[in-house]
């Protein structure tokens, strides 16, 4: 996967004419998009517009859904992830995902973080370091360092979500997908997560689906607006918010619908 990187371009993810059907219903219509390395790309749009469906194409989580059919190409670092020789399980080590609801496993804080690396064969003596590193990167080390053995579910919602981010980081992905990561959190937890996402950009390419337009405006470099399965507009966040080219984008951003 890595050799092809340099000579392709700066874009780490290239989506070409992506169509997706759930049974008879077409959920994504001819989406094309290029996502740059080490940037934050926000996907906005009303409920049911396909943004979550789209993000789940990038780590092939839609594979798990019955009757889901996909056409088109998704290139990550130059390689089609729907190609015949790509293993979805391996792909997901490189493309991590954080979900809407904080969902730590019913294990200790330590075991939550160590879960992925352990299964991927990390050396036992390296685990402590991996766990600490991941928790530090997700800005939750200070709160958890003295209680690593306590159940993860005893943490607050915001802490649980940062724990889930740490759990994803521990597997060392290059891309992280966030599917409305703060919609279940209070404003203070939300701002901590936003801060964290902006810091993570240095080392990771980030795609975030959000209902919250202010959030998209605050943290993203690029924004895509989805409506009824189509990518209506995609560009630099500043341009999308200040000078949208499409009428429906403007209507949505100014709160006329959605």
């Amino acid at each position: 996967m890595t050799e092809a990187v340099q000579n392709v371009s700066q874009s780490q993810i290239e989506v070409e004419n992506l169509n997706l059907w759930y049974g008879e219903k077409q959920a994504l219509k001819n989406i094309s998009m290029q996502i740059s390395k080490n940037s934050v790309t926000a996907l906005i749009g009303p409920s049911g517009c396909g943004k979550s469906t789209f993000i789940r194409c990038l780590n092939r989580m839609n594979d798990l859904i019955k009757n889901c059919r996909i056409e088109g190409r998704v290139l990550i670092e130059g390689k089609d992830i729907y190609g015949p020789d790509v293993d979805a399980v391996d792909l997901r080590k490189n493309v991590g995902m954080v979900f809407q609801k904080p969902n730590p496993f019913p294990m200790s804080i330590y075991d939550n973080i160590a879960y992925g690396p352990r299964i991927h064969g990390a050396n036992k003596k390296d685990l402590d370091g991996i766990v600490e590193q991941a928790l530090r990167s997700a800005a939750i080390w200070e709160e958890t360092s003295d209680r690593l053995k306590s159940p993860a579910l005893s943490l607050s919602g915001g802490q649980q979500q940062r724990l889930c981010i740490a759990r994803t980081l521990a597997v060392k992905p290059r891309i992280i997908l966030f599917d409305e990561p703060t919609s279940a959190l209070d404003p203070i937890s939300t701002s901590r997560i936003e801060e964290l996402i902006m810091n993570l950009k240095k080392d990771y390419t980030i795609v975030i689906v959000t209902h919250n337009m202010q959030q998209a405006a605050r943290i993203s470099d690029y924004t895509g607006f989805f409506l009824m399965g189509e990518l209506i507009e995609f560009g630099q966040t500043r341009q999308i918010f200040h000078n949208p080219q499409e009428r429906s984008t403007e209507d949505y951003i100014t709160g006329r619908f959605g």
């Binding site: 798990l64 019955k66 991590g96 969902n103 019913p106 299964i119």
Partner: protein, 285 residues
């Protein structure tokens, strides 16, 4: 409607309470009756000695041992198969005709009278496989009987594991089997344990399936291999109460046997509760 909503509420509540109390009092009456009548028969000798004088004296030790062997034997056979089948049905099998047929078969198996299992065990294990009337034949027959219980309760337990666990594990690049092995199964263990122990209660109490497959009328020694015949508590009780040499004289022994059987089943249920609580605290759901 002539009644005010308050009155009908009161009537409904009283009826529901009455029904519940009736059920509870029957359980209590049975329990107290057996304890009162059986209490006198229980002693160290009763629990540790062979029956003597045509089963009119002595203990029920071989029947206790036999029942224990049946529990172990049927669990060893049914638990792995049942749990694996449930995992397959819940995690891998799609919703298609074959799955539907399999589920139907399991439900029907659960509704089959136990004496039919006994005859089937006689035909298959005792005769066809040639295991003879033995612990092995009886255990396998009982295993068939409890298989649907284990499959169902394991499936229920797997269903209660939130899908988020599966998704977030898969999203970490963990394979489906590893996800089941390290996240789904541990979270489902309390439910699986409960189901299994409830089925142990069935194994300990069933008479018909072991009647044709290896339970002995009287055997003044312990079984020495899985091919031996054995005595078992429920059948021993049946024998004493209906075909014994002196039914009236052995009344106390009958109640004593019933009490021991009851205590074993209640004890196992208690263990189930404790195990479930232990895991629940550990998982802190």
């Amino acid at each position: 409607m002539g009644l005010s909503s308050k009155t009908s509420e009161k009537i409904a509540f009283s009826l529901l309470t009455l029904a519940t109390l009736t059920v509870a009092s029957f359980v209590l009456v049975i329990l107290v009756y057996i304890i009162l009548n059986g209490y006198g028969a229980i002693s160290i000798e009763f629990l540790t000695e062979m029956p003597r004088r045509m089963m009119t004296q002595g203990g029920i030790y071989p029947a206790i041992v036999g029942t224990m062997y049946l529990i172990i034997g049927s669990m060893v056979a049914a638990l792995p198969i049942g749990v694996i089948a449930a995992i397959y049905l819940n995690e891998y099998a799609g919703e298609n005709r074959t799955t539907w047929l399999v589920e139907m078969a399991i439900n029907n198996l659960a509704g089959t009278p136990s004496v039919v299992f006994g005859l089937f065990g006689l035909a298959l294990f005792v005769k066809y496989f040639g295991f003879g009337p033995s612990i092995l034949s009886a255990s396998l027959t009982l295993a068939l009987l409890i298989l649907p219980v284990i499959i169902r309760s394991t499936k229920e337990a797997l269903l209660t594991v939130p899908n988020e666990y599966r998704e977030s594990s898969l999203a970490l690049g963990v394979s489906k089997w590893q996800t089941i092995r390290y996240v789904v199964l541990p979270a489902a263990i309390p439910g699986i344990v409960t189901g299994s122990i409830l089925s142990i209660g069935r194994v300990a109490g069933e008479t018909a399936p072991i009647l044709f497959t290896g339970a002995a009328y009287f055997l003044p020694r312990l079984p020495d291999s899985i091919y031996s015949q054995f005595m078992a508590l429920p059948y021993h009780l049946f024998v004493l109460a209906t075909a014994g040499t002196n039914i009236a004289k052995t009344r106390p022994i009958q109640y004593g046997t019933a009490l021991v059987l009851l205590l074993i089943v209640l004890g196992l249920n208690l263990i189930a509760v404790l195990i479930r609580r232990h895991y629940r605290n550990k998982l802190k759901i």
